[in-house]
Subunit: 190 residues, 2 copies
C-alpha cells in the first residue's frame, strides 16, 4: 500500500482548502479521505473525530488571520491602521470564505483561551492607541469594532447587501470613515 504520510497538520490544511471550496459545514471526514485517496477509517488515527477536525481548521484560520492582521498593523496608526485591519478581515473572508466561516466556529472555552483569538483582541486594542480612549471605553470600542468587522463581512458575504443600490465597496469606505470619526469623538459617559 502506498503510504500517504497523513498527519494532523496536512489533514487540517487540506480540510481548510476543502472548506473554501465547498463551505465549512460541508467539510466531511469522508471527503477528506477521498482527497487523500485513503479509507475513511484511516483518518481516525490522526483526528479524534469530525469535531476535532473542525476545531483544527478553526484554529488554523484564526492563526492565519492574526498573522495577516499583525502584518497589516505594522508601522501604521490611526485611521490608516483601522482601515488596514478592517480590510484584513474583509479580504480574508473573500479569499477564503470557508476558512473565515471556520474562524467563527464556536470553540470550547479552554481551547479558545489558547487560540489566536486572544491576539485579535490585543491587536484591536493596539489599534486604539492611535485614538484617545481610556478604560472602560477602550474595551467598549474593541467590542464595537469587532462587531462591525464581523457583522459587515458576514452580511456582505451572506448576500444581505446584494440587492440594493450603492455598491458595497463605497459603503465599506464610508463605514470606516464613520468609525474613524466616532473613535476621534467618542461620546463621554452620561
Amino acid at each position: 500500500m502506498a503510504r500517504v504520510r497523513l498527519t494532523p497538520e496536512r489533514l487540517t490544511r487540506a480540510g481548510a482548502e476543502l472548506a473554501d471550496e465547498v463551505g465549512f459545514d460541508q467539510v466531511t471526514v469522508s471527503e477528506l479521505a477521498r482527497r487523500f485517496d485513503v479509507k475513511v477509517a484511516s483518518l481516525y488515527s490522526h483526528l479524534k473525530n469530525s469535531h476535532d477536525l473542525r476545531t483544527r481548521i478553526a484554529l488554523l484560520a484564526l492563526e492565519e488571520l492574526a498573522d495577516r492582521a499583525a502584518d497589516a498593523l505594522a508601522g501604521r496608526a490611526g485611521k490608516d491602521a483601522l482601515t488596514a485591519l478592517a480590510n484584513v478581515y474583509r479580504d480574508y473572508a473573500r479569499e477564503h470564505p470557508g476558512r473565515y466561516a471556520a474562524a467563527q466556529f464556536r470553540l470550547a472555552p479552554e481551547v479558545a483561551a489558547c487560540s489566536a483569538g486572544v491576539r485579535h483582541a490585543q491587536m484591536t486594542r493596539a489599534l486604539l492607541r492611535g485614538y484617545d480612549l481610556t478604560e472602560p471605553d477602550q474595551t467598549h470600542a474593541v467590542r464595537l469594532l469587532g462587531s462591525v468587522f464581523h457583522g459587515y463581512v458576514s452580511l456582505e458575504m451572506g448576500g444581505g447587501f446584494s440587492h440594493s443600490a450603492p455598491d458595497t465597496q463605497e459603503t465599506w469606505t464610508r463605514v470606516l470613515d464613520a468609525l474613524d470619526a466616532l473613535l476621534r469623538n467618542w461620546p463621554p459617559s452620561p
Copy 2:
C-alpha cells in the same frame, strides 16, 4: 394508526422549537419525526427535504423578528427607536438562539426577496428618519446598523466577549450611545 395531522406549519414551528433547544444546525428531519412519534419518511409529504425545512424555519424567524421590530418601533423616534430596535435583535437572539441562527440562514435570492428580510431593511431606514441623513449616506448607515446589531449579537452569543472584564450589558448601552452620537454627527463625504 393515530393520525397526527402533520402540516408544513406545525413542522416548521416544531422545527423552530427544536432549533432553540439543540441549535439550528442540529435540526434534523429524523429528530422532528421522533418528536411527532412518526416515521421519518412521513415528513416528506409535507416537506420537500431537509433544506426546505431549514428555509421555512428561517422565514418564520425573520417574520417573528420583523413583527417584534415593528412593534418596538411604533411611536418611537431618534435614540429611543434606535435602542428599541437594537434590543429587539439582542433579546430575540437570547430568547431564541436557534431561531436567531435560522434568521442568518442563507436564503436563495428569490426566496429572500419575498421574505420578511426586506421589512427589516425598511424599518432600519424608517429609524434613520429621526436623524438627518440623505442618500447615499442613509444606505450606508442602514448597512452599518445592520452590521453592528448582527455582529454584536453573534459575538456575544458565541462567547466572544465572555472572558473580559466589563460586562456586556454596559458595553451594549455604550455602543448604542456611540451609534446615536455617530448618526447625529455623520461625517461628510471627503
